[in-house]
Amino acid sequence: MGDFISADGVVFGYPKEDGQLNIVLRGVTLHIREGEFVAVLGHNGSGKSTIAKHMNAILIPNEGQVMVDGIPTTQEDRLYDIRQRVGMVFQNPDNQIVATVVEEDVAFGPENVGVEPAEIRRRVDEALEDVGMSEYKLHAPHQLSGGQKQRVAIAGIIAMRPRCIVLDEPTAMLDPKGRREVMSTIQRLNRENGITVVLITHYMEEAAQAGRVVVMNDGKILWDATPREVFSHVQELKEVGLDVPQATELCWRLRREGLDLPEDVLTEEEAVEAISKLLEEVRG
């Protein structure tokens, strides 16, 4: 099967006051297959949000090409076909909820594309079920917590039955509980519903949950590999303004002191396991 989203040699700049372009993407090539869970990491200004906005034709490249399910994003008459296939969730949950009642908001997308009323009802109920917000369907958005609002926003997207969701720092404004809620929702949608997920984030713990991590810096892709591979570059990640999980960094520091530890420790349990082995040897 081919790529669901393919970006080839994308160059993009925002126009400045003097008519020049402020180049943000300097030749990005990225291919995403259907069903993948890809995390895009980078500090603010690395271009990670800009590439995300190319995936549903909010932005069109100055050079290069982006294709979604075989449709070039430059094809204006198919704009809504693209946006139905690739849904987008933003950082601030407050500013993406349109209606005054949760279920009405989830219905907003399907209503826009002219789905039959009975079918909208079915999709809204399903979508709210999928994000675990069914019991709040008649609530007003401002009565919900940040994590709940963000799940409603996600439900609003999946009610359009997209094949891919792009989430642009969806947890940046949430507390740890909200963050966990949103991350487990995203995980479930990817695993159980087979929805392709592109997660833009600067939280390493979140990126570690993805199947593939793309690190961006200065408008280019620095690495594109599994989380294990990417997080083994502790020094380089720090240099581009990112950090790694403490478990990874602890093992890296110990290894630097000459201890024999694996390079690709990612989780707490792995760190405990690896360090235990060493302590065992010392104890003899």
Binding site: N56, I58, Y80, R83, Q84, G87, M88, F90, N92, D94, N95, Q96, I97, V98, A99, T100, V101, E103, E104, A107, F108, G109, P110, E111, N112, V113, G114, V115, E116, P117, I120, R121, V124, A140, P141, H142, A153, G156, I157, M160
Partner: protein, 272 residues
């Protein structure tokens, strides 16, 4: 605290009036207003008062809510009553200098006052029993035929919905900004009028900046959800006229007929 303010006057409930189709409710409220204005004599008006009383009884809206809705119109009622009493010609009951109060004047004043009170209480019943969103929805669908005259009905309704959605958010935001500026020593309680107006700048500017930012982000989110105006749009909730709507319409029709009948033959009852 600012955030304690509730939006609109909606008083949730499950009475037959609450559950009526909002379109029907709007139309019947208009019919009720007509009823009040065509009532030409006291008996006709009495029908209007009794009818409204029954509606409130059925809706289970507490009495204090009705009184609350009437409070703002009290000055207007006093003002028009005084004018009516003083300037309607007829049989004088009280005379002092050039001022003269007549029987007819008192009658007109009472009649007008009752009419205004019923008018306000009647329209309040609509807003008490209908959520703002249902009201907007009802107005939009009733106005749909006006689209032919290039009236942006859908857009206006959309604006209304978004305003309703963001009012609580912006109130909360105002609260936060006020606290933040107070924490920097902003003084909003003392000084003259000019000084107080100036003290609002540190609140209004951040509030506007934030409202524009929100509008920007919301527009983008709506575009991502394929919003392109009212054309080709469907709605999840279909409004349907139920039996209860028909019954209520019949009741209003009956009231209206009674008022018209009393207009024609009412004089007969009054004189005998």
């Amino acid at each position: 605290m600012l955030r304690d303010i509730t939006i609109g006057q909606y008083f949730p409930g499950s009475s037959i009036i609450h559950r009526m189709d909002p379109r029907m409710k709007i139309v019947l409220t208009l019919a009720y207003i007509v009823m009040l204005f065509i009532a030409a004599n006291a008996l006709g008006l009495a029908v209007g008062v009794v009818f409204l009383g029954l509606c409130y009884l059925v809706s289970q809206i507490p009495l204090r809510m009705i009184l609350r809705s009437l409070r703002p119109v009290v000055p207007i009622i006093i003002f028009t009553s005084v004018l009516n009493m003083l300037f309607v010609d007829g049989q004088p009951v009280f005379q002092w200098w050039i001022l003269k109060i007549t029987v007819e004047g008192i009658q007109t004043a009472v009649f007008m006052s009752v009419r205004i009170l019923c008018l306000i209480a009647g329209t309040s019943l609509l807003t008490y029993t209908t959520s703002p969103i249902a009201l907007t929805d009802g107005i939009e669908r009733l106005c749909n035929p006006l689209k032919r005259f290039k009236l942006p009905v859908h857009e206006l309704a959309m604006m209304m919905t978004i305003a309703l959605r963001f009012i609580p958010t912006l109130i909360e935001e105002t609260d936060k900004i006020i606290s933040a500026q107070k924490a920097r020593g902003a003084d909003m309680e003392s000084g003259g009028l000019l000084q107080r107006a100036k003290a609002l700048i540190p609140i209004l500017i951040p509030l506007f900046v934030s409202a524009f930012r929100r509008a920007d982000e919301l527009a983008l989110a709506m575009e991502c959800r394929c919003y392109r105006g009212g054309e080709g749009r469907t709605r999840m909730k279909q409004l349907k006229i139920h039996a209860r709507d028909i019954w209520c319409a019949l009741a209003v029709g009956l009231g209206l007929a009674a008022v018209i009948a009393l207009n024609i033959w009412g004089g007969f009852f009054m004189n005998t």
